[in-house]
């Protein structure tokens, strides 16, 4: 068995930020990531990011990814690529499968003092008649194809879902040379930012709100999609069907936190649709209900790369503090600054609900901690 001081599962923005913060203050950090390259979603994101100009906004996701990797290297963070954490067992033991499918794989068991779970999220599916035909795919998958693998999934695309992912991937599909025939959204309003929507409408993409896809047709792959209008009760309105000639249907129906590892180790979760579904409870240090296990980024509630970075920093600072690499005064100052920035990112009509959901999650974590302590007191009193 290998022993490590800190192990970070997932090398996206949140995991790298946690690793950099902890390593920079002296901790020995290993990041395991299932991909060929660390960086998570960042290397798919060729667009300029929002956020505060003090924190790299206006910089493209890919360039933020490169900067993070350089910093991680500078501070001596060890990174295992092609390495999937397949299990998390008590007491803080991680089973990691190293190597590609085509190689000899090796199973390593690592025992860690502190673990950060930063595994991100997976895409939600939408089911409709014909949804298993080749050519129906997640928007994130389409984005990986064009921006990482440089393969165009199709020439004529129908996008489902108007959150920022649906809007941004539509734009990038056009940049890659495809036509986006339409974007449909079941809700009466566009979910993502108006400025992202305007980029694609200006390029001629019609956005149909209160619409959905009801069927994909085709012989061996998608050749047509049928869309229709929805009434107030979200039921198809008969007679409003439209058939579109498309070869690809990309689905951007939200993301779901990848919480399996946290659940496996007994971290308590709550269900909150605003955060994407089941999310592990965590306190202001991003520590889960299981001491020494931290959760950051999309797994702790679907948000954005900016918030993922800040959450990663919080965990990294808290870990450096817990391992005595920095004083609690210094840690407090750093954490307060980070929380200030997080608050800024969660303001406005798009962030407010998430801010509230996160506050409720923090409160639930406090309550869970309180009852665990009471339990302990009661147990020791009984003994």
């Amino acid at each position: 068995m290998i022993k490590k001081e800190v192990v970070v599962i997932g090398g996206g923005p949140s995991g790298l930020a946690a690793a950099i913060e902890a390593a920079q203050r002296g901790a020995e950090v290993l990041v395991v990531d299932s991909n060929l390259k660390a960086g998570g979603q960042l290397f798919k994101q060729i667009h300029k990011f929002f956020g505060s100009s003090a924190h790299r906004s206006g910089t493209r996701g890919i360039d933020i990814g490169t900067e993070l990797l350089e910093e991680a290297e500078k501070y001596g963070v060890e990174i295992w690529l092609n390495s999937v954490a397949i299990g998390l067992f008590q007491e803080k033991k991680i089973a990691v499968e190293r190597g590609l499918d085509v190689e000899d794989k090796k199973l390593e068991i690592i025992e860690a003092e502190k673990i950060v779970i930063a595994s991100g999220a997976s895409e939600n599916a939408v089911r409709f008649k014909g949804w298993t035909l080749p050519g129906v795919m997640g928007a994130g998958a389409a984005q990986t194809m064009i921006n990482v693998n440089r393969v165009l999934p199709g020439e004529r695309i129908l996008m489902i879902g108007s959150g920022n992912v649906g809007l941004i991937v539509s734009y990038q599909l056009m940049q890659a040379g495809a036509d986006v025939v339409a974007l449909v959204e079941a809700a009466p309003k566009i979910g993502g930012y108006g400025v992202h929507a305007s980029k694609i409408t200006r390029a001629g993409v019609p956005i149909y709100t209160k619409h959905t896809v009801i069927e994909a047709r085709g012989d061996k792959r998608v050749e047509e999609a049928v869309i229709c209008e929805l009434d107030e009760k979200w039921q198809p309105v008969a007679g409003t069907e439209k058939t579109l000639k498309v070869d690809t249907i990309a689905i951007a129906a939200g993301l779901k936190p990848l919480v399996e590892l946290a659940v496996m180790h007994g971290c308590e979760c709550i269900f909150d649709p605003l955060l994407g579904g089941w999310v592990p409870l965590h306190d202001k240090n991003m520590e889960s209900t299981y001491p020494g296990i931290y959760v950051v980024g999309d797994i702790a509630g679907i948000e954005e790369a900016n918030t993922a970075l800040e959450e990663g920093k919080l965990a990294g600072i808290a870990i450096a503090e817990a391992l005595d690499y920095i004083s609690s005064e210094e840690a407090k100052k750093l954490k307060d600054e980070t929380w200030e920035r997080l608050k800024g990112l969660r303001m406005g009509p798009f962030g407010e609900k998430r801010m509230l959901a996160k506050e409720q999650l923090l409160a639930a974590a406090e309550a869970a901690k309180g009852s665990a302590e009471e339990h302990q007191i009661a147990a020791s009193a009984g003994a």
Partner: protein
């Protein structure tokens, strides 16, 4: 119908905010038009302007406000805005023509002097335009800015060109 339903702004929606440059200012030459009306966590336009013409402040979800007297129409903010929501309009370009500058992140780029199809915010072709310049220096970080000349009465409508 509004931005949240159609995905594009109408000129009425933009002007309603009271932040649109005045006609007097337009008469003096190029000026920035900022079409960003939702409170999103974003502020790089503010620091992009070295003349201090864009005010946003704290919290970063505030809307940007243009100080039209300070704006020189230099266009530096156009490529910096991740929302691609800033345009430079020059209604004083000639007696009959105005120019519109916009970010254009598609290849191939149009050539100088080419005739192009100018589109409005919804992507509809409204007239032809003539390419005046295409700027793409390293500092724009791969967001080329294209300037086209269009009839003056189309300056409020045209916000891009059809992809080539």
């Amino acid at each position: 119908m509004s931005l949240a339903e159609t995905g594009f702004l109408t000129i009425e929606e933009i002007k309603k905010l009271g932040k649109y440059p005045s006609e007097e200012r337009f008469k003096k030459g190029p000026v920035a038009v900022i079409e960003c009306i939702q409170e999103i966590p974003c502020n790089p336009c503010e620091s992009a302007c070295r003349f201090g013409a864009i005010e946003l402040g704290e919290p970063i979800t505030n809307l940007p406000t243009l100080n039209e007297d300070k704006c020189t129409g230099c266009g530096l903010c156009v490529a910096k805005c991740p929302g691609l929501a800033i345009f430079i309009i020059d209604k004083a370009y000639s007696d009959t023509m105005a120019t519109v500058s916009f970010p254009h992140e598609y290849l191939p780029l149009p050539e100088k002097d080419a005739e192009v199809e100018a589109v409005d915010r919804s992507g509809q072709v409204v007239c032809t335009g003539k390419v005046i310049k295409v700027l793409n220096p390293e500092s724009f970080d791969r967001t080329p800015v294209v300037t086209i000349a269009v009839p003056q009465d189309k300056a409020e409508e045209v916000r891009g060109i059809k992809r080539l």
